[in-house]
């Protein structure tokens, strides 16, 4: 069965000039790595950061699993490299205010420190990270449970103060218990970071650490080793299934009741473990960044069922969006492992480069064409195009508005052709373009297949 499939044969190649500049939105670890990787490929990069410093959520941590360096060192080194690179411009206290124009030449208005910058970009990489939800405390009144990031801050203080003194002992008391429930796309990172922090507390003198979790996440570089080390150094790990641990405030601390699957219920024991701890640590829920809905609308891109950027579609993985030239990296798309994020960022940089790296990019044109005379401007194509490749423009020849296919954004899927009620949109093949005729009906490669 000769079933040749030649994707590019049904469109002529036109060179479209593209802006070589790339806009990276967000100065966390994903955005930084993105800018560095693009700089390696000599793409001109503008990074906008809403705050006054780079590093984002990862930068606020005091250690990263899988890395010997502290986040401060890791990010510090990368930021230093960025500074020396003339191809990277960083705008602080900056926000994207408007995006206009076609894919490949997106005209962006950025406001930074009260000043307005306007430029054209060939691609936009969204790396706006995630947000930590400040959830309600599990117990009312004193004492309150603390979050993992609060614990990280206390650990950092302890380290700075050499871990001596009464206040330090109070900040991370003797008996510490972590409770981690599976919660969603962030489950894995919660379990891993609880493991990391449990080990850090255990390493302090005279501490008892309990970790209650549903599933220990070890699907990452070095995580199984971290798990073994935590257990070997004395962290007591309980794994619960359906029954969530019960937490109650008690006697300057908490009572945690957990049903561990490996503790058998028998005559002497009902299978429940009662733990008393002075400090209860709960991971804060990770949620999409606060600007996600705003950027979603501005960039006309999709989010998934948990409202993170990027539809959950296998073709978009790892970092593509429904629009050509717009990418998502890191926490904003629900990816939280720093190691994975660095890889993702580099992978995306190459994709961005192949998209805009050359002065001109070949664009398959004429695959889909609108006949302005037939177009009823009913907006059906505009609404139904999955790639946002339709715009309504003024056509001088007909002296009115018509739908127009943005060639650089079009994937030639033919959905608009099928939807158009006026039959104004046609698939056109390259050879026939020259002859000026559409080959509707024969546009597809037809062949005989004999079914068994």
């Amino acid at each position: 069965m000769g079933h040749a499939r030649n994707r590019e044969s049904d469109g002529t190649i036109k060179k479209t000039s593209m802006s070589r500049r790339v806009l990276v939105v967000g100065g966390g670890v994903a955005g930084i790595e993105m800018a560095l990787a693009l700089a390696e490929l000599r793409c001109d990069t503008t990074l906008v950061e809403q705050g006054t410093s780079l590093g984002g959520n990862a930068g606020a941590l005091c250690s990263l699993y899988g890395f010997e360096q502290t986040p401060e060192e890791l990010i510090g080194k990368k930021v230093a490299t960025m500074r020396t690179n003339p191809g990277i411009r960083v705008l602080f206290e900056a926000a994207v205010r408007d995006v206009k124009g076609d894919v490949g030449n997106l005209h962006v208005r950025i406001e930074a420190c009260g000043k307005v910058h306007e430029s054209d970009f060939g691609a936009i990489v969204v790396a706006t990270g995630f947000d930590l939800a400040t959830g309600s405390p599990v117990t009312s009144g004193e004492p309150t449970a603390i979050s993992c990031s609060e614990l990280e801050r206390r650990l950092a203080q302890l380290r700075a103060g050499n871990g001596r003194g009464r206040s330090n002992a109070l900040s991370v008391p003797r008996n510490v218990c972590f409770v981690v429930e599976d919660s969603g796309v962030d489950s894995a990172v919660h379990a891993a970071s609880a493991l990391k922090n449990a080990l850090a507390v255990q390493k302090l003198p005279k501490r008892n650490v309990f970790l209650c979790c549903q599933n220990v996440n070890v699907a990452g570089e070095g995580l199984e080793a971290l798990y073994r080390e935590a257990r070997a150094s004395g962290v007591v790990i309980f794994k619960f299934d359906g029954d969530k641990p019960q937490v109650a405030a008690a006697d300057r601390g908490f009572n945690v009741t957990v049903r561990d699957a490996s503790v058998a219920a028998n005559d002497r024991c009902n299978g429940l473990m009662d733990l008393h701890c002075d400090l209860l640590v709960l991971p804060e829920r990770i949620v999409p960044g606060p600007h996600t809905p705003y950027l979603q609308k501005l960039l006309r891109v999709d989010v998934d069922s948990s409202d993170y950027f990027q539809q959950n579609n296998v073709w978009l993985r790892p970092t593509a969006s429904n629009r050509k030239g717009i990418f998502f990296v890191g926490g904003c798309r629900g990816s939280f492992d720093v190691c994975d994020i660095l890889t993702e960022a580099r992978a995306t940089a190459l994709e961005v480069y192949t998209w805009i790296g050359r002065d001109e990019i070949p664009v398959s044109v004429g695959k889909v064409r609108v006949d302005p005379a037939k177009c009823a401007v009913c907006l059906t194509c505009l609404r139904s195009c999955p790639h946002d490749a339709v715009e309504i423009v003024f056509d001088g020849d007909i002296g009115g508005k018509t739908a127009h296919i943005v060639e650089s954004a079009c994937h030639a899927c033919g959905i608009c052709v099928a939807e158009c009620p006026a039959k104004a949109i046609q698939m056109v093949a390259a050879d026939d373009l020259q002859k000026g005729m559409a080959i509707k009906g024969e546009r597809r490669q037809v062949e005989q297949w004999v079914q068994n």
Binding site: K374, A376, C378, T380, S384, C420, P421, A422, K423
Partner: protein
């Protein structure tokens, strides 16, 4: 825009049954936009009828004009129309009647049910928003028409069937027009507009007043 819907195929089938050759004529205006009678629908209906009358020797062909309510657009089809036994018009009622007036000797059938003047609420869903009553009061009702959007066309507030913003006529699908008006006026800070009692409406400007005409002497030729 005028919103229409294609008639059930069975009904269309009965209409064209007696004829040997039928020309299906679409319209490129409103009914294209509301997906009822544009070029695509004309082609589709043609194919369906071909299949429905397979092996009967009946001939079906299709064409489409810019605006079927204008004789000038229909005129070029004269030869085609006269070569057929009947015309199946996929325009609104106005378009059908233009063809009828133009070609008195040929039977012309409507393939659509013309519904209302409306707008799309979303792709594939249209709702009536204007009743064409000939005496617009939108400026007094927060830009929401009580004639078209209140099921009972009340002029001075809702009836007793307004429950939680829904209309008793069809609570699932129809919002209470007066609730919408009230919300809108409240939002705009112009609730005082409701203080004015509207007198009984003069329906003579509406469909009840006989055949309506609009005359613009200045543009008449």
């Amino acid at each position: 825009m005028i919103v229409a819907e294609r008639k059930p195929i069975t009904e269309i089938r009965e209409m064209v049954e007696p004829h040997e050759s039928v020309l299906i004529v679409g319209c490129g205006a409103c009914v294209t936009v509301c997906m009822a009678g544009g070029e695509k629908e004309a082609e589709l209906l043609c194919s369906i009828l071909v299949l429905a009358f397979k092996d009967t020797g009946k001939q079906f062909t299709w064409d489409c004009v810019e605006r079927q309510c204008e004789p000038e657009f229909v005129e070029p089809l004269a030869d085609k129309i006269q070569a057929n036994d009947a015309v199946l018009s996929m325009a609104c009622g106005a378009g059908v009647q233009t063809v009828v007036a133009q070609f008195p000797s040929i039977p012309v059938y409507p393939a659509l049910n013309t519904q209302f003047v409306g707008r799309p609420l979303e792709q594939g869903l249209w709702a009536e928003t204007c009743a064409g009553c000939g005496n617009c009061i939108l400026h007094k009702t927060g830009g929401i028409c009580p004639i078209a959007r209140c099921s009972k066309s009340l002029l001075n507030g809702p009836c007793g069937g307004s429950v939680n913003g829904r209309c008793e006529v069809d609570p699932e699908n129809v919002e209470c027009g007066w609730q919408l008006i009230y919300d809108r006026l409240e939002q705009a800070g112009t609730l005082y507009l409701l203080d004015e009692i509207m007198p009984p409406k003069d329906w003579s400007t509406s469909a009840h007043g006989g055949v309506r005409r609009v005359i613009r002497e200045d543009v008449r030729l």
